[in-house]
């Protein structure tokens, strides 16, 4: 074990009041079983999970409710035993405020597990284990919700596992509390992840504002030469993947490259513990830790079942779960306003801030950009936020892309420092959305063009084939017969013409 203290500071970033201490005074809490659990079928990046149970069916805790549809998708399991009551569109935590398909589960109160099947990972083949993990429903619990099995399965040789324990965004403390209370599981999980990745060493990157967690972890890895801790300064956004890799290793991941191409893979601490629980205990992903903070009376971290109504947590924390309250999901820098408090806890929900309206609505007037370049100084990705803003607000998307709009991690540092109060990130999100939907429309148009071309070709081919058949039939009838047929036809035509002529004449005469 060692604690490394040389760090490579990245450009930009901000030092903000972290507001973390309010939610770390009490241990992680559990609440009583909710009356119903609402499980959105898409809680991950990728395709919607496919429902595998019938309405009215009784299910056990940990039983598969919906399986991953294809590779980039994740399964959903029953967080407790009970009855599947419905599949319908319900409000979910999403910035759009639009409903999406959810399974409603009515708990029976018994909390009976299915037969758990721990995996003897030291005995069976690595690939085998990873395949099993693809059925675990585990996704990146730091908030990105990318299916974890995909990150374990890669073609590049991974030497180093980077454990993302930075938790750099203000207010959020779920990873900190998890490390304090489940440090042993985390270290076991890291050993497991090293094995699965075929990696040699692990580095835990953690901000210096978590001394308790650091102490606990350091004690556990005292005799382990393969795992080390790297304490990074509290500078937002140190927890961004590329920033943390740079802080720890001094390696800049080039544009368009992945960390695995540099022999590194990164997992968040909560994800590693979920992996541990799945392999060692046979428990799929059905719970997470969530920070409930802000204006609630007793800010706290909760270990909750997915699908738990957020309002239950807010009430437990002494908050006003009125519908017109303003709640931010995620942190104050990158989070978004929830459409309502009547949404379920999902895999992505790491933190909810009970915010006063003033925290969301801007009372200070937005002024024109004075090109002070403060934003550029603050940008940890070394972008030119003022240019991105200019091109985004004037719908010059191509130019925004040329200024590397898609490298923007939406960290919000630029908006944070802007003296003109411009909500810069909102413009970038808008521009990215427009570009992505344009790309999608283009893809659809390409498919339509192809199908239309194919159809025209097919029609042409059919026409030719028909013509060929007629010609063949003609050739087959003997020339004698043919001339007879033609003669008859000619005769019929001349007769008809005659008739028409005469009729015409008689009409004129009338």
């Amino acid at each position: 074990m060692n604690i490394i203290d040389t760090i490579f500071k990245f450009n930009g970033g901000i030092k903000a009041d972290t507001k973390k201490s309010v939610s770390t005074v009490r241990p992680i809490k559990k609440i009583k079983m909710p009356k119903q659990l609402i499980l959105p079928l898409r809680q991950h990046v990728g395709k919607v999970a496919k429902l595998k149970v019938n309405i009215g069916e009784k299910v056990l805790k940990g039983q598969l409710l919906a399986e991953a549809d294809g590779n980039v998708s994740a399964a959903i399991h029953a967080p407790t035993s009970g009855t599947v009551a419905s599949l319908e569109k319900q409000l979910i935590p999403h910035p759009s405020g639009l409903p999406d398909y959810c399974v409603t589960l009515i708990p029976d109160g018994k909390d009976t597990w299915v037969e758990k099947k721990p995996i003897n990972w030291k005995k069976i083949d690595r690939k085998e284990t990873i395949k099993k993990i693809s059925e675990s429903g585990i996704v990146g619990l730091g908030g990105a919700t990318f299916p974890t099995h995909l990150k374990l399965n890669n073609n590049n040789e991974v030497k180093t596992l980077i454990v993302n324990a930075a938790e750099c965004e203000p207010y959020i403390t779920c990873d900190d509390m998890l490390m304090r209370e489940k440090s042993a599981e985390l270290i076991e999980g890291i050993r497991l992840a090293l094995h699965l990745l075929g990696a040699q060493n692990a580095i835990i990157g953690i901000e210096d504002n978590k001394p308790e967690a650091i102490e606990k972890l350091a004690l556990l890895i005292k005799n382990d030469a393969n795992i080390s801790i790297k304490i990074v300064p509290t500078i937002y956004p140190s927890g961004d993947a590329k920033r943390l890799i740079y802080l720890i290793t001094g390696i800049q991941i080039a544009k368009g490259k992945r960390s695995t191409e540099y022999g590194m893979q990164m997992f968040n601490v909560a994800t590693i513990i979920a992996l541990y629980k799945f392999i060692h205990c046979g428990e799929p992903s059905i719970t997470r830790i969530i920070t409930i903070t802000g204006k609630v009376r007793t800010p706290n971290n909760y270990e909750v079942l997915f699908g738990t109504p957020l309002s239950d947590l807010i009430i437990d924390a002494g908050g006003k779960a009125s519908q017109n309250g303003s709640f931010i999901m995620g942190g104050p820098m990158m989070g978004y306003k929830l459409p309502s408090v009547n949404v379920p806890v999902t895999k992505a929900m790491n933190c909810v801030i009970d915010a006063e309206p003033e925290m969301i609505e801007n009372n200070n007037p937005v002024l024109p950009c004075i090109r002070c370049a403060k934003c550029a100084e603050a940008c940890p990705v070394n972008l030119q936020p003022q240019e991105l803003f200019w091109f985004s607000q004037s719908n010059q998307f191509e130019k925004a892309e040329n200024y590397n709009l898609f490298d923007c991690i939406e960290c919000g540092c630029c908006s944070y420092v802007c003296p003109s109060n411009i909500p810069l990130v909102q413009y970038y999100r808008y521009a990215k959305s427009e570009i992505i939907s344009d790309r999608y429309a283009k893809e659809e148009a390409d498919i339509a063009r192809e199908r239309n071309d194919f159809r025209l070709e097919r029609l042409q081919r059919e026409k030719e084939e028909r013509a060929k058949k007629i010609a063949e039939r003609k050739a087959n009838t003997s020339s004698d017969e043919k001339s007879k047929v033609i003669d008859e036809k000619r005769k019929a035509i001349t007769e008809a013409l005659e008739r028409v002529k005469q009729e015409g004449v008689s009409e004129k005469n009338d």
Binding site: S96, P423, Y430
Partner: protein, 188 residues
């Protein structure tokens, strides 16, 4: 003197033959300007432009026979892009060719469908499945919303349904409201 003339002659022949060869070998299929126009058109293949499809309309624009504002599915945005490509002034969509509608897809009422196959013959992108006398159904993903299958249906069992906004196709909106920026959020 003579050698230099010969060298020049040789070079001329060589380069000429390379050029000649490559013009055969790397012959560009189709007309690049038509393809460029076609890539802007939405490929709905609806015929509202009064041409039998997007490609024929693109060809007509390239020849200068058609105006740039005849494609309602392409919308004002499409006209703008065509104007930029063709180096002409933007003009609003010609209403004679129809109004802009939200993108829709066709849905067959499968209880009413008599399986006459007329819609299949009308669909420009082969997005309808079914065989004679059997109920037909539309592949949602392939349907361009051209409405060409509506008129031929003898029992009027095809409806156009506008695509609803959902969590998948939802877009972040242009920031019109005063949204608190990050600093005010944190320091609050």
């Amino acid at each position: 003197m003579l050698t230099s003339v010969l060298v020049v002659l040789f070079l001329a022949l060589l380069i000429g033959s390379i050029l000649g060869f490559s013009s055969i070998k790397f012959k560009v299929d189709g007309d690049p300007i038509i393809d460029k126009i076609d890539s802007i058109l939405p490929q709905t293949q609806c015929g509202q432009c009064s041409y039998p499809g997007c490609k024929p309309y693109a060809t007509a624009i390239a020849k200068g026979e058609a105006d740039i504002n005849q494609c309602p599915p392409g919308g004002e945005d499409g006209v703008r892009k065509l104007a930029e490509l063709m180096g002409v002034e933007y003009k609003p969509l010609n209403e004679e060719h129809g109004a802009i509608k939200p993108k829709s897809i066709a849905i067959i009422d499968e209880d009413t469908c008599i399986g006459c196959t007329l819609c299949i013959q009308a669909c420009p992108v082969d997005a309808i499945l079914g065989s004679a006398k059997h109920m037909h159904t539309i592949i949602e993903k392939e349907c361009t919303g051209c409405e060409l299958c509506l008129p031929p249906c003898p029992v009027d069992c095809i409806d156009m349904i506008a695509i609803q906004e959902n969590t998948e196709n939802w877009k972040w909106k242009y920031p019109v409201f005063n949204i608190k920026n990050q600093k005010q959020r944190v320091s609050h």
